[in-house]
């Protein structure tokens, strides 16, 4: 990561400074955490101040905000969605469920730790986290992008075998029609 940081050209530094002000978010809400998002978006906290707005499809989104637990079934959807997003892309795990399964830690149907399956950029701890926490995570992300440090997404390309193995362990083979290894070559990531 640091190696890549030093490789940033002057143009990239400027670009990062500017583009960090625009982050579009796709929020994946199966858990109870979604209730915290409306206040974050509306006049009380207004995340659009930071150039963050909610988007509808993975193609347009930069942030995949996963609120709450993921079951085996929904994880497949999340992975499909993640792979359809355009890099650079950032996964934010929201709430303790994504960190360690939270109150569902001993459920047979949920997955415990999201970072086994997707490269998570940031976790927001808490059950549930308040909008302030969400905003603070966003600002943290913005800062990291500005510094050129938010590169977790490259990990998915670099260590795809690891993620793939874990994914297959949970639900077997799925076909997302995305060839990550070939993408890595094609796009030179």
């Amino acid at each position: 990561m640091s190696e890549k940081l030093t490789q940033r050209k002057a143009w990239d530094i400027v670009l990062d400074k500017l583009t960090k002000r625009s982050l579009w978010m796709l929020h994946y809400c199966t858990g109870c955490g979604a209730i915290e998002l409306p206040p974050t978006m509306t006049s009380r906290y207004d995340m659009e101040r930071f150039g963050i707005s909610a988007m509808v499809t993975p193609r347009q989104a930069d942030i995949l905000l996963i609120t709450g637990y993921l079951s085996v079934k929904t994880l497949q959807r999340v992975i499909l969605t993640y792979e359809q997003m355009q890099a650079p892309k950032y996964v934010i795990g929201f709430g303790s469920c994504t960190i360690n399964g939270g109150m569902y830690w001993n459920s047979y149907a949920t997955i415990k730790s999201l970072d086994q399956y997707l490269p998570v950029e940031l976790y927001i701890a808490g059950c549930m986290p308040r909008p302030e926490a969400i905003i603070s995570s966003f600002t943290e992300l913005i800062d990291r992008i500005g510094r050129g440090e938010a590169n977790s997404w490259q990990d998915y390309y670099d260590n795809y075998d690891f993620y793939k193995k874990n994914q297959e362990h949970v639900f077997g083979e799925i076909n997302t029609y995305v060839d990550i290894k070939d993408d890595k070559v094609k796009f030179g990531i």
């Binding site: 670009l15 500017l18 583009t19 002000r21 625009s22 982050l23 579009w24 509306t42 006049s43 207004d46 659009e48 101040r49 930071f50 150039g51 707005s53 988007m55 509808v56 499809t57 993975p58 193609r59 347009q60 930069d62 997003m85 355009q86 890099a87 650079p88 993408d183 796009f187 990531i189």
Partner: protein
Amino acid sequence: MSTVLWIIFYPIIAFAIGVILLGYGRKFNARVQRRYGPPIQQVFYDILKLMSKRTNISHGWMHDTALVMLLGGTLLTLYFIPVPGFDFFSGYGDFLVVMYILLIPSLGMALGVGETANPNGSIGISRALQMLAGYDIPFALTFIGMAILAGTTNFSEIIALQQAEGIFGWGLMTNPFLGVAALIALHGMMGEKPFEVMVAPHEIATGPMTEMGGKYLGMMMIQHALNVVIELTIYINLFLGGAANWASYLVKLFVLMTLILSVNALFGRFRVDDAVRFMWKVPLVLAVIGVLIIIL
């Protein structure tokens, strides 16, 4: 020489104005909703980010070509609409030409979205085209009415005629029916609420933009910024007496934009058939009255 400079720099200027107008729109909307809102240059950040995405996917060569056609067609339209100090091309194509080259971007986008093979996209295009038929009929009728009133279809001549008589020579003043009809149609043309059926993020996942990401979406946003300028300028040229200088041009742009944004901020969304019905009832009838006044 200055023409060459204009040809080179005009798209950039128009792009800047468009970005500011869109940013102004988002800010305006936020303030109506009692939010702080993004900075006024936010759209510029968005475009920059989208253009700098590392991975881009496309569903085929028409998908790629579509974006080129979209932006290329918009640039074409841009050149043919006179603005203060630059109406080099309006002598080669009148506003009948403009009306039809305005369709090139739509067609390009429609083809590209079609190739993405996403049903949401196709539904979006279906709605967009139905809306096109909705707003373009009254808009075209106001075009025709103004042309008959002015005795010409050439933009510069119409502007000159309006400016000759000061504010009372404006199209909006000489024939308020046409002016109002065109204003409502313009609202539909800009796709602002309540005529936002084509995008409708909550129903059809932003419709045409569903499969657009990265630089594809970026180019669409560039085109959108230019398009806002084009559409507002057409209205200004036809009904607000054009603009004698850049100051008045910008003032007119922002006033018109504010008007449209205020309506936008207040409404929800029509269903597509209701939107079209509205277009064929209110503005079309107004336009017919206006035209009848002119020819009788």
